[in-house]
C-alpha cells in the first residue's frame, strides 16, 4: 500500500465519518460544521487524484459559500443551537435500512466491477488551472455559457421566492 493510498484512505475515513455525523448529530449547527469537514476532506481527495483546480473550487464554493448559505438558512429559520430531540422523523428505520441496502448494492457491484483496477497517478496530467481552464473554454465553452444562464435564472428565482410577499402582493 503506497503512501498515497494511505493518505487517501485516511481522508476518505474522515469524509465518511464526518458525513455520518452530519446526518446524525442532534445539533443542527454542528451538522453544518461537520459538513465543512466532509467537504474539506473531499477537497483533499481531489488533490490526491491530481484534480488541483477542482479541489480549490471545492474549498472556495462548497466550504466557503454553500456552508455559509446553509448556516444562514439555519439561523433565519431560528434553528436552536443546542441539542434537540426529534431531529429525525419516524421514517428513520426505513431510511437506515434503505441506506445500508444502497451502500451494500453499490459497494458490492463496484468491488465486483473494479477489483484490481489501478489508477496510474505517476504520469497523469495535473488538473491545474491552466489545463482545466483550457478544457473549459475550448471544448466545454457552450455548456459553460448555458450554465451561466442557469445561474442567472436561479439567482432571479431565489430573489423572487425570498422576497416578502406582504409588501408586494400577488
Amino acid at each position: 500500500m503506497s503512501a498515497v493510498e494511505v493518505l487517501f484512505a485516511l481522508l476518505g475515513l474522515v469524509a465518511v465519518g464526518s458525513a455520518l455525523l452530519v446526518v446524525t448529530t442532534a445539533r443542527l449547527v454542528h451538522a453544518a460544521l461537520w459538513l465543512v469537514v466532509t467537504l474539506g476532506a473531499l477537497a483533499g481527495c481531489y488533490l490526491l487524484l491530481a484534480a488541483e483546480f477542482v479541489a480549490w473550487v471545492q474549498v472556495l464554493i462548497y466550504v466557503g459559500a454553500v456552508v455559509v448559505l446553509l448556516l444562514f438558512a439555519l439561523m433565519l429559520t431560528r434553528a436552536p443551537t443546542a441539542a434537540e430531540a426529534g431531529t429525525v422523523t419516524a421514517n428513520r428505520p426505513l431510511a437506515a435500512g434503505l441506506a445500508v441496502l444502497v451502500a451494500a448494492a453499490l459497494v458490492s457491484s463496484l468491488v465486483a466491477g473494479f477489483r484490481d483496477v489501478r489508477i496510474d497517478l505517476d504520469d497523469s496530467v495535473v488538473g491545474s488551472a491552466e489545463t482545466t481552464g483550457e478544457a473549459l473554454f475550448t471544448s466545454w465553452v457552450l455548456p459553460f455559457e448555458v450554465l451561466s444562464v442557469l445561474l442567472l435564472a436561479a439567482l432571479v428565482g431565489a430573489i423572487v421566492l425570498s422576497r416578502s410577499t406582504r409588501g408586494g402582493g400577488r
Binding site: 469524509a15 465518511v16 473550487v57 459553460f144
Partner: protein, 124 residues
C-alpha cells in the same frame, strides 16, 4: 492507487446522503443530505477522469458544473425553505402535508375554488 478507494468512499457518502434525505426532519438538513450525494458523484467523476486520462477533462469539468448547479439548487432550495418557514413557522418535513389526499385537503380545495370563482365549492 486502487480505483476502488475513491469509488467506495463515494458509494458510502452517497448512502449516507440517502439516509440524511430520508430520515432528517429539518428541511435544511435534508438539503445537506442532498449535498452529500452530489459530492459523492463529484468524487466519482474526478476519479474516473484521472483513471481514464481524459484529454478534455470531461470529468473535472463536469464536477465544476455540478458544483455550480449545486450552488444554484441550494440557493433556490433555501429560498423555498424560507418561504415555508414564513408561512408555517416551522420547516419540519413530516408536518408539511398539503399534498395529502384527505378530506381536509378536499375542503381546502373547495374553499380556494370559492375564493377564485365566487361559486359555492364542491360543484362537481
Amino acid at each position: 492507487m486502487l480505483l476502488l478507494f475513491p469509488l467506495v468512499v463515494s458509494a458510502l457518502l452517497f448512502s449516507i446522503g440517502v439516509y440524511g434525505v430520508l430520515a432528517r426532519r429539518n428541511a435544511v438538513l435534508v438539503l445537506m443530505g442532498v449535498e452529500l450525494m452530489l459530492n459523492a458523484v463529484n468524487l466519482n467523476l474526478v476519479a474516473f477522469d484521472t483513471y481514464l486520462r481524459d484529454v478534455v477533462h470531461s470529468g473535472q469539468v463536469l464536477t465544476l458544473f455540478v458544483i455550480a448547479v449545486a450552488a444554484a439548487e441550494l440557493g433556490l432550495g433555501l429560498a423555498i425553505v424560507l418561504m415555508i418557514f414564513r408561512s408555517h413557522q416551522h420547516i419540519d418535513i413530516d408536518r408539511l402535508r398539503e399534498l395529502s389526499d384527505s378530506d381536509a385537503a378536499d375542503e381546502a380545495i373547495a374553499r380556494d375554488h370559492q375564493i377564485w370563482t365566487g361559486v359555492a365549492g364542491g360543484e362537481r
